[in-house]
């Protein structure tokens, strides 16, 4: 198969072929798209094949091509302007021949299409930060751009969540016509005499106000910020009674569901590509070469950066391949040694993680209990005690990635896997630290059940305390991002720029590491999701926070940073961002569902004070519905429905999986068929030429090419078709025997 060559390589190294090959339909369909003016040897054929107004009746296939192309809008054809105009005129003429009904229909569809295009371009011009993002794209490429468009998505998401909570929870409270008893009924259920409510002083220290503001305490407890304020069972409007507990619960479920749907929709495109992608060919090289250059780069330095990073990427990938080959050649002894090393290192990693988690636990319990101390030391120490969990979590999240990146060097994985594995460990660390914090809070709340006086402030209104904790985490996160940019990155840049010592040069400018930045955001967003139930204004705070972070990061990027040497692919990064966001969302659902369904809601504050657990608001509301609606809901919640729904979903899933497998098989078969067709064509052309017995320039047999350079026999546009064909070899045995 490799040896046969229908066409010999001529003297100049170009391929030669028979002019009658030009008449093949496959060739003509390709020629149709190509500008005829740029190939001079087509002169004789131009008359027949040029794009003219009249249909070429000789070639029926051309008719079919044209009718296919007619369906598409003229502006979408890959032709130069003059040919597009000709197309359009021709279509106008043809339209006049159609009946008026069809004319009207076509006119209407064109109008609709234009309307949709206009709407589309209008919407995209309305997008927030469009010019900023273009600027960043021009300077740094599409990898970093994806981070910023992710930020934009989160701003929008948080705004929508806030609107949901505002409309269903806050607005009714604001519009409440009956005057509220603003002071919390603190004494209700308060049996602990030793309650040090000393914060009730009228004249507070200015320092204490700042502490209150930063920790959500004091005056903020009695505002719309925290759960404890919404202590209303029903709001009586003139015409309707508004059930606040039900609304609160449903709004919570609503925003979780909304986030889920929006994230899934946004990542649907990425999922599709991942599922359809052929597993054998990862196309990573083609992707890098054909789609590697960002055409929107405008600055010379960015172009140089891009070149360097492409070069680096290609070299590393080729290196990867060689390493994989080497790894496949490992001996058993080597393998045992490496596996043992990996086990030890993983145990070490788990030990470090356990230490971090324990310190978070200790810090949280300490911070909660320190409220009960009678003597307040100066306000800085107070602030530190309040923020102790946040500080510990931030330090742990700062130290562990460095540790992981050092450890991974000894574990001897392939470079691509190393990066992914480190990233996974960091994601795990971030989310697990939140889990440990919540667990320690939960253990404190559990203690309340047995002994309500152990921590009176917590036990009376634990939801408010949790809300305050989430609020503190958010504020501290924002402060840290701001502080790191101002106090670490900026001086570093000054140092590198003005100091000539070798250390500074070696250290270099800050790299904008996309994964670490994304994990920071993921952490903030998970906190926001968990905290919105306890602190309804948290999404608004997060919106403002991300808004500010966009500008801070943009400034830092432009002034302080250089792009990462190992670039992050835009496509895979979108998938990565949304994937970890989804994990964060699923994680956030657990504490909310546990606290809603299991933990007893506090009696002294909040909308669920009359119920045992928060979830009970829903069955109570269902009881109040008419009988028919109740029956429907009972049916939907029954086991019969759940089991049958589950079975039907499984069946649908199996069907779709089977379909995908079948499609994959068909694709493989078609691929093989394509190769076979190519060979068939070659064989037939040979036979044809033999039959034609075209005069042949006698060439020596050694002109037939080796397999690597076998000519692209017909799908090429080589310009010298005037030379005759040379039959260099007997036809292959395999082409007609399938």
């Amino acid at each position: 198969m490799e040896d046969d060559s229908v066409f010999a390589i001529g003297g100049s190294g170009r391929i030669t072929s028979n002019p009658l090959l030009d008449q093949l339909p496959s060739y003509q369909s390709l020629l149709y798209r190509r500008k005829s003016s740029s190939v001079k040897s087509r002169g004789s054929l131009k008359g027949r094949l040029s794009v003219s107004g009249r249909l070429n009746t000789v070639n029926r296939l051309e008719e079919r091509q044209k009718s296919q192309m007619e369906q598409r809008a003229v502006s979408e054809l890959p032709f130069p302007m003059a040919e597009k105009r000709r197309h359009k005129d021709q279509r106008m003429e043809e339209r006049k021949d159609l009946s008026s009904c069809r004319q009207w229909r076509e006119g209407a569809s064109r109008y609709m299409k234009r309307l949709m295009d206009d709407a589309h371009s209008f919407l995209s011009s309305m997008k927030l930060w469009r010019s900023d993002i273009h600027q960043i794209e021009g300077m740094f490429g599409t990898g970093i751009l994806s981070y910023f468009s992710f930020l934009r998505f989160l701003v929008a998401l948080n705004l929508i969540i806030f609107l949901v909570m505002f409309c269903f929870v806050m607005l009714p409270m604001i519009l409440d016509p009956t005057p509220r008893n603003v002071i919390n009924n603190q004494h209700q259920g308060n049996v602990c005499r030793t309650h040090p409510r000393t914060t009730r002083r009228i004249l507070k220290n200015y320092h204490e106000h700042i502490v209150d503001l930063l920790s959500g305490d004091g005056i903020l407890e009695r505002t719309y910020l925290l759960y404890g304020f919404y202590t209303k069972d029903e709001i009586h409007f003139p015409k309707v009674i508004y059930k606040l507990p039900l609304a609160y619960l449903l709004a919570t479920l609503g925003y979780l569901l909304l986030s889920l749907l929006w994230i899934v929709k946004r990542s649907a495109a990425g999922f599709k590509r991942h599922l359809i992608k052929d597993e054998d060919r990862f196309q990573s090289f083609c992707n890098k070469i054909f789609a590697g250059w960002d055409f929107c780069i405008t600055s010379e330095s960015a172009a140089k950066q891009k070149r360097n990073s492409l070069l680096y990427e290609l070299k590393t990938d080729l290196e990867d391949e060689r390493i994989k080959q080497k790894m496949a050649d490992r001996t058993t002894k080597d393998k045992c040694r490496i596996y043992l090393l990996r086990v030890i290192l993983n145990m070490f990693v788990m030990g470090v993680l356990a230490a971090c988690f324990f310190s978070i636990y200790v810090a949280t319990t300490f911070s909660q209990n320190v409220e009960n101390r009678k003597n307040k030391v100066n306000f800085i120490v107070d602030l530190i005690y309040e923020y102790l969990p946040s500080i510990v979590i931030t330090m742990a999240n700062f130290v562990t990635p460095l540790l992981f990146s050092v450890i991974i060097n000894y574990e001897d994985y392939s470079p691509a896997f190393e990066i992914r594995f480190t990233l996974m460990r960091c994601v795990f660390m971030r989310l697990a630290s939140i889990t440990v914090l919540l667990y320690s809070l939960w253990s404190q709340i559990d203690e309340c059940r047995e002994d309500p006086c152990s921590n009176p402030k917590l036990c009376q209104c634990w939801e408010t305390r949790v809300g305050q904790e989430m609020y503190k985490l958010t504020i501290f996160d924002f402060i840290i991002i701001l502080a790191v940019t101002i106090f670490v990155e900026f001086p570093r840049k000054m140092l590198v720029k003005f100091c000539d010592c070798r250390l500074a040069k070696m250290w270099g400018l800050q790299e904008f590491s996309i994964p670490q930045n994304v994990l920071e955001i993921l952490y903030g967003q998970t906190i926001c999701w968990i905290g919105t139930f306890y602190c309804p204004m948290l999404p608004a705070i997060c919106t403002i926070k991300y808004f500010c972070i966009f500008y801070i990061k943009k400034l830092s990027l432009i002034k302080n940073c250089r792009p990462a040497t190992r670039p992050f692919r835009a496509s895979s990064s979108n998938f990565f961002f949304l994937g970890v966001l989804l994990i964060g969302l699923i994680l956030a659902c657990f504490p909310i569902s546990i606290s809603v369904a299991q933990i007893k809601s506090s009696q002294a504050c909040g909308p669920f004070s009359k119920y045992n657990t928060s979830w009970e608001a829903l069955p109570a509301a269902v009881e109040a519905l008419p009988q028919s609606a109740r029956n429907v809901i009972y049916f939907l919640a029954s086991e019969t429905f759940a089991v049958s729904f589950f079975v039907v979903t499984c069946l649908a899933m199996f069907y779709v999986i089977a379909l995908a497998g079948a499609h994959k098989k068909v694709i493989n078969q078609l691929r093989e068929k394509l190769v076979m067709e190519g060979q068939d064509k070659r064989f037939l052309i040979q036979k044809l030429c033999q039959a034609q017995s075209v005069p042949v320039a006698k060439s020596a047999p050694q002109l037939h090419s080796p397999s690597r350079q076998s000519p692209s026999y017909h799908t090429s546009f080589s310009s010298n078709f005037n030379e005759a064909v040379v039959l260099a070899h007997s036809p292959p045995n395999s082409s007609t025997h399938v």
């Binding site: 979408e76 789609a291 590697g292």
Partner: protein, 203 residues
């Protein structure tokens, strides 16, 4: 001035087969900036390649000469562009161009020897364009060979040693980065709009 310009846009949108008013106006302004005084009165001015390459959006692009050559409709194949060619260029690189158009033009840009396929030489030139032209930024010949054989493994379906248009489009359709990276935006112009005489010649 503004009304005339927008009228130009609305009337000529269908004329130029472009969907975006803003693109048309912008392109028009930037193109006329590139013309000399005397050329502006010419009915269909043609800008030589060297002048086009001074555009900031194209200046640092390694494919700039190929882009000009592909979109040029001149008989001498010198890469000079008329306004229509310029619009073709911008709309092919804009957000609203379909994947098919982009991949078609990308194929022609990458086809350095204009023979209709991407063979070893084309791919080698392509990789060198991407990594840089100087000696220390090129891949070694061994690495180049390995890279190109990987590319051909991935994209050459009929195993003829070259990538033709359909194979290229097939690969591109599965390449998630292509659409976002094969895009070019004109920045808003800094200079004021040209005078009316120029506008009339385009209507």
């Amino acid at each position: 001035m503004g009304t005339t310009a927008s009228q130009l846009a609305k009337d000529s949108l269908s004329e130029y087969q472009v969907n975006d008013h803003l693109l048309l106006e912008n392109a028009h302004r930037r193109f006329t900036e590139l013309l000399d005084r005397d050329e502006r009165n010419h009915p269909n001015p043609r800008v030589p390649m060297e002048v086009i390459l001074t555009l900031p959006e194209l200046k640092s692009n390694p494919f700039k000469t190929r882009i000009c050559q592909v979109f040029s409709t001149s008989e001498d194949k010198d890469g000079s562009l008329t306004f229509e060619d310029f619009l073709d260029l911008l709309s092919a690189f804009s957000d609203s161009a379909t994947l098919e158009i982009k991949s078609h033009y990308a194929f022609r840009i990458f086809d350095f020897d204009d023979d209709g396929t991407l063979d070893y030489g084309d791919l080698e030139k392509l990789v060198n364009c991407l990594t840089g032209e100087t000696e220390d930024t090129r891949l070694t010949s061994e690495e180049m060979r390995q890279l190109i054989s990987n590319i051909l493994d991935e994209s050459d379906i009929d195993k003829d040693g070259t990538v033709n248009l359909s194979e290229f489009q097939h690969v591109i359709s599965r390449s998630p980065d292509f659409v976002s990276s094969f895009a070019l935006f004109l920045f808003y112009p800094v200079f004021p709009a040209p005078n009316d005489a120029v506008l009339h010649c385009f209507i």
